[in-house]
């Protein structure tokens, strides 16, 4: 549990206790007190979440109980068939991918997958994909184009795995090839940052016609720890880096780098997976329908123009 969640949780416990004590007895006094406490809980939750610091959002984005890619696929799609392996080297459990039905349409889904328990996180490398994970994704992007199926990607990674083994297998090349493929893919692509959008490892699945972000997700050039290590030469300054990097969904919407912010249930997506997924579906469904109706040449050109426009520069006056 996060520090700023603790107060709220105590209040929740108190309410639960009262409810238990009250039992079937619908004593109007207890009912009134419960109603008051409920209101207080809602007000305090709203207050805390209206003033989240960037670092609190980083913590929420990494919340161990936060819904991950698999949780969204289970709720958004009716028949997910997971496909494994890059047909080159190995299957990477830190990326899941497959075929599914979304709103009656066959789609290809691909996303980073974090674990919840320690052992699962070790197996999934904390959502840090290896080159073979990105190459599995690439294989499915190719298949999506071959069969004219739109692609939905879900971003949730601290960054690409940076070990010597990953270097050996060409981590840089895997990321670049994915971006190049997605940039030119002749089917619609919708990207959703559901948790942590960390650096090149996120962008390797992040080039699409639309980019959505969950309200408390983050998206950054480097993880706050890595950025702190680069800027302050000390990863302990992660909190300061989080504030400086402007990595929150509202900031990035304002900067024009993402298209939409998907609202999360009160207290964050981990409080209610179903509402989080329903909110995402409400945005994805009409968007996908709209993109699928477009001429594919126009779509690919618009995608190029979209990323072409990302950046701010100025011109030095002559002389």
């Amino acid at each position: 549990m996060l520090e700023f969640e603790r107060d709220l949780d105590e209040l929740r416990d108190h309410i639960a206790e009262l409810e238990r004590d009250a039992g079937a007895d619908s004593n109007s006094h207890v009912a009134r007190e419960l109603a008051v406490l409920q209101l207080e809980l809602e007000a305090r939750t709203a207050d805390i979440f209206a003033h989240l610091t960037p670092w609190q959002r980083v913590q929420l984005a990494r919340h161990p109980q936060r819904p991950h890619t698999q949780d969204y696929i289970d709720r958004l799609c009716s028949d997910f068939t997971e496909l494994h392996g890059d047909r080159r080297y190995a299957d990477d459990p830190s990326v899941i991918a497959g075929l599914a039905t979304f709103q009656g349409r066959s789609v290809i889904v691909v996303g980073h997958q974090k674990g919840r328990s320690t052992s699962e996180n070790v197996e999934r490398n904390f959502g840090m994909a290896h080159p073979e994970g990105f190459r599995k994704a690439l294989r499915l992007f190719d298949m999506a184009e071959r069969f004219g199926r739109p692609v939905l990607t879900f971003l949730d990674t601290p960054g690409a795995s940076p070990t010597l083994d990953d270097e050996k297998r060409g981590q840089s090349w895997a990321i670049a090839e994915n971006m190049a493929r997605l940039a030119r893919l002749r089917v619609p692509v919708i990207v959703t940052v559901i948790g942590e959008g960390g650096s090149g490892g996120a962008l390797a699945l992040g080039v699409g016609d639309r980019v959505l972000m969950l309200e408390h997700a983050i998206y950054s050039v480097a993880s706050p720890e890595a950025a702190a290590a680069i800027i302050w030469r000390d990863s302990d300054h992660a909190e300061a880096a989080a504030a400086a990097l402007r990595l929150t969904a509202p900031d990035l919407l304002h900067a024009g780098l993402i298209d939409r912010v998907v609202p999360e249930p009160d207290g964050g997506a981990h409080r209610d997976f179903d509402i989080a997924a329903a909110n995402l579906r409400a945005q994805l469904a009409p968007m996908l329908q709209e993109l699928c109706a477009q001429n594919i040449d126009d779509l690919v050109n618009a995608r190029y123009a979209k990323f072409r426009a990302m950046g701010e520069h100025q011109n030095v006056p002559a002389g």
């Binding site: 270097e167 971006m179 680069i230 990595l247």
Partner: protein, 293 residues
């Protein structure tokens, strides 16, 4: 006297200024005129020392005076109003501009390589470690678009610490933007040759550079995805000490060839000749165009 093994090339304090240089790789000490005559290649360890953009352009083109720079006036904005403990981003850019006499971390233009017009983008490592920000990405993208329009073969020379942190997600998006532009060259059959010089790291390795048709490494260059500080910040353990050199990356199968500096120009001309025969790609001479009218 203690010598720094790494860091900037420096002279001994008690000999005439600039007469001796030490190799940043092996620490070997060399007589500067000879070192320069050898194109700044270390005679002891074969490390190819960093060149600035002007030196690189002079090395590659037939006549550096015929280099026509494009978009020289583009420079960084400050989208995040970013500040480090060591100073503001605006201040860092101003310092870099004064230091390098360049407005950004890449110099782009067109010029003749063995008689053939090419589009050339050379990264300036002295400009904030050659890091890629919005303005850098804009220049690279414009270079690729220019090359596509005129069907000019493209040569990029990378020397970069990666994405420029001071621009946050704007910097990350330059990876997508430059890669998308490079991918369009590929679709159109316009060759892109990348020369990875020391160092080529992170956001530059993992974007337009990695998808070049042919990747040439300079001997002894560091080429890798994650810098040691990032590894330490992410994994909370010390980065592996292995040298991620050009030769190592070649053995892993990630680059096409390693070319000594003295052979670079000839090699570039040769491979470009194979991929894009000059009679197809070269713009018609002015006289011939006039005659057709």
């Amino acid at each position: 006297m203690a010598l720094r093994r790494r860091g900037s090339v420096q002279s001994y304090p008690d000999v005439p200024v600039d007469l001796w240089v030490t190799c940043r790789k092996c620490g070997g000490m060399h007589y500067r005129p000879e070192f320069e005559a050898a194109l700044r290649v270390c005679p002891s360890c074969n490390y190819h020392d960093r060149l600035d953009a002007a030196e690189r352009i002079a090395l590659l083109l037939d006549d550096p005076d015929q280099f026509q720079e494009i978009d020289a006036d583009i420079t960084a904005a400050d989208p995040l109003e970013f500040s480090r403990p060591s100073g503001s981003y605006v201040g860092r850019v101003a310092k870099a501009r004064a230091l390098t006499s360049r407005n950004e971390a890449i110099v782009c233009g067109v010029g003749p390589l063995q008689g053939r017009q090419v589009a050339l983008g050379v990264m300036e490592f002295g400009f904030i470690a050659g890091s890629m920000g919005s303005a850098t990405g804009e220049k690279i993208t414009r270079l690729f678009e220019h090359a596509l329009r005129h069907r000019l073969p493209v040569i990029t020379v990378t020397a970069s610490g990666g994405a420029r942190q001071d621009e946050g997600l704007f910097a990350l998006m330059q990876m997508a933007r430059t890669t998308a532009a490079a991918a369009r060259l590929g679709e159109a059959g316009v060759p892109h040759i990348c020369v990875m010089a020391d160092p080529t790291l992170a956001g530059v390795t993992a974007s337009f550079a990695a998808i070049a048709d042919i990747i040439i490494g300079e001997p002894g260059a560091t080429i890798r995805f994650a810098g040691s500080r990032v590894v330490q910040g992410t994994l909370r353990r010390r980065a592996p000490v292995e040298d991620h050199t050009t030769e190592w990356v070649l053995r892993q199968g990630m680059i096409d060839l390693v070319v000594p500096r003295r052979d670079l120009r000839e090699t570039l001309a040769r491979v470009i000749g194979h991929l894009a025969p000059a009679h197809v790609a070269a713009p018609a001479p002015i006289a011939a165009r006039a005659a057709r009218v």
